[in-house]
């Protein structure tokens, strides 16, 4: 089951802006290693789930994984071959808005080499530049 809010006040949201850098959620807070976002954009629930599966498979469920982002924002899309107008499209996906500096995933209980390898696989599932970071 992909991540999505249990209940929302409004079904559709405006696109918003993604300016600036992340102001919070930028440190490795729970685990020993993390995957930090360097770009900005939307990461949808399917991508988050793909990353989670990739990390867990690679670590063979030895470590502990934290997902630091949550897709709070609904996005809509129009059905194919539809003319413009007639209102906004139907809710399609749930996305997390990420800015440079956001910590996406964290891992603990494994070696640095293993964590790095699993984070590389996760990074490949995202269309955003990322980097591997170690707790200070």
């Amino acid at each position: 089951m992909p991540l999505m809010p249990k209940k929302v006040k409004f079904r559709k949201s405006q696109r918003g802006n993604r300016g600036g850098n992340a102001q919070r959620g930028t440190d490795v807070s729970f685990g020993d290693f993390g995957l930090q976002c360097l770009g900005r954009g939307w990461i949808n629930s399917q991508q988050i789930e793909a990353c989670r599966v990739a990390i867990n498979r690679d670590l063979k469920r030895k470590g502990k994984v934290w997902i630091r982002i949550f897709p709070h924002k609904p996005t809509t899309s129009r059905p194919p071959e539809t003319r413009m107008g007639k209102g906004k499209g139907a809710p399609e996906k749930w996305v997390a808005v990420v800015r440079p500096g956001t910590m996406l995933f964290e891992v603990a209980g494994v070696s640095e080499t293993a964590a790095k390898a699993s984070m590389r696989l996760a990074a490949n599932k995202l269309g955003i530049r990322t980097r591997f970071v170690v707790r200070d």
Binding site: R61, P100, G101, R135
Partner: protein, 224 residues
């Protein structure tokens, strides 16, 4: 125990985003000093000097003897309360100094470091380090750089609590003794078994859809 290190600082006149940005470009770090029985004011320190000071200390809890140019009192004992970093570049953005008196107790947050490998980990367990920092109260001279927690005796299902750790001399832990610092968990094999059928079901559903499409295509072909 932390020892006093000397650090040169200058009283800062400008404030606001543009002024501090200019300072950073010139190789200085903006900061502020506050504390009991003194006025709060803004200061600046040389970036290189402060980075060297941090590199040569055990943790971020550093006791400094600030020599401030332009201030009423030339020497001031202060604790580094907070260091703000840029999350992308790691550059030091701002420093908070907390002016302290040698004979008065202070509250500080100290890093917790796990020492050794847990016995339970060797038997297939997973060490979960839950508490990474600990609030302590002590005199500035007694402030530890870090608190070491030995975990080599921990078996699977066991935990080390704040109450199990003997505080260094003159230091008092402010957290409840029952708070868990680290525990060794058994790795759940059930998750693997749970996930596998779900993936198979997914694969089956994809195959099923392909099968339907193929069937439809097959049906459509004779008609055309």
């Amino acid at each position: 125990m932390s020892k006093k290190l000397n650090l040169h600082a200058t009283k800062r006149l400008g404030s606001g985003t543009s002024a501090v940005k200019k300072l950073r470009r010139e190789g200085a770090v903006p900061g502020v000093i506050y504390g009991a029985a003194q006025d709060n004011y803004t200061i600046q320190v040389k970036s290189k000097e402060f980075e060297n000071l941090l590199h040569h200390s055990a943790g971020e809890n550093v006791l400094v003897n600030l020599q401030i140019e332009g201030a009423k009192e030339a020497d001031k004992l202060a604790m580094v309360q907070e260091v703000q970093h840029n999350p992308l570049t790691g550059q030091i953005m701002h420093i908070d100094f907390h002016a302290v008196k040698e004979d008065e107790e202070v509250t500080a947050v100290v890093q917790v470091e796990i020492v050794g490998e847990a016995a339970g980990v060797k038997h297939g367990g997973l060490l979960d380090h839950q508490l990474h920092s600990l609030e302590v109260r002590c005199k500035p001279a007694d402030l530890p750089g870090k608190i070491e927690v030995p975990v080599s005796h921990l078996e699977v299902g066991e935990a080390v609590h704040v109450g199990d750790i003997k505080p260094p001399g003159g230091v008092e832990f402010l957290l409840d003794g029952e708070v868990v610092i680290a525990n060794v968990q058994e790795i759940k094999v059930g998750v693997a078994e749970e996930e596998a059928p779900a993936e198979e079901a997914e694969a089956a559903s994809v195959e099923g859809e392909e099968g339907v499409e193929a069937k439809e295509a097959g049906e459509a072909a004779p008609e055309s």
